[in-house]
């Protein structure tokens, strides 16, 4: 019996962060959709428009944070889903690192793009 939890590994943090990010995402995702489809219409998006928005530091930071939380939330969600399907052992470790790398790359690339839009890079 004891060996069941000897490799004690709490799932509470990832669970908790998944909820916290979700709560945050509700707000920004709604904002994002509204902004890009209702206030400005997607077909009318131009680089200039994007750049104008991105230049506002508040918008830039929100979008960056949006990206990071979404990346975390999405990647963490995929990971949790796979584990629930019974992923274990070395495959689990492999998947975990692939997802971490994918998430980091996604965020990095996204931030880089945002900085470009911002005109900072």
């Amino acid at each position: 019996m004891a060996e069941r939890y000897s490799s004690f590994q709490s799932g509470s943090m990832s669970w908790f962060l998944q909820r916290v990010t979700a709560a945050f995402l509700v707000v920004v995702l709604a904002f994002h959709f509204f902004m890009l489809h209702f206030v400005h219409h997607a077909p009318e998006v131009t680089f200039a428009g994007t750049q104008a928005r991105m230049s506002q530091i508040g918008y830039f930071l929100t979008m960056t944070l949006f990206l990071i939380t979404a990346a975390f939330h999405g990647v963490n969600g995929v990971y949790a889903a796979l584990i629930n399907q019974g992923l274990t052992g070395s495959r689990k470790t492999a998947v975990k690192w692939v997802l971490v790398v994918a998430g980091v790359l996604l965020s990095a690339q996204g931030i880089y793009v945002a900085l470009v839009m911002n005109g900072l890079m």
């Binding site: 997607a42 077909p43 009318e44 200039a48 994007t50 979404a70 990647v75 994918a102």
Partner: protein
Amino acid sequence: MSQSYNRGLIEDFGRWREFSAGMWAWIFHKFTGWVLIGYLFTHIAVLSTATANPGTYTATIQGLEELTIVRIGEVGLLAVAVFHILNGVRLLFVDLGVGLESQDKSFYASLIVTAVIVLASVPTFMQGAF
């Protein structure tokens, strides 16, 4: 132990008619979550055209937006996102222990509200698509 008969996985999805509301909610949430993260990757890829030069970016986005299929895809994305959000909120309430007795009703409500929002947004999304 004596021999026993393992019915394998056939029973699981072959039995979808017997799934309960909570199970459907789970399946849909999973599905929409995966679509969203998939989209996020694509989205960033598309936006990356901005790193080439501003013209490419504008051209790409507007070019894509001219495609009816992309517009339809966007409505789909909206549906997926709205459902994920609404059901996500439902799940957040469940996590807080609020309204557990009506979890099935709130799931149906999420579906209906998603449908309504999506239908209502179709004109906006399809504007100029045809």
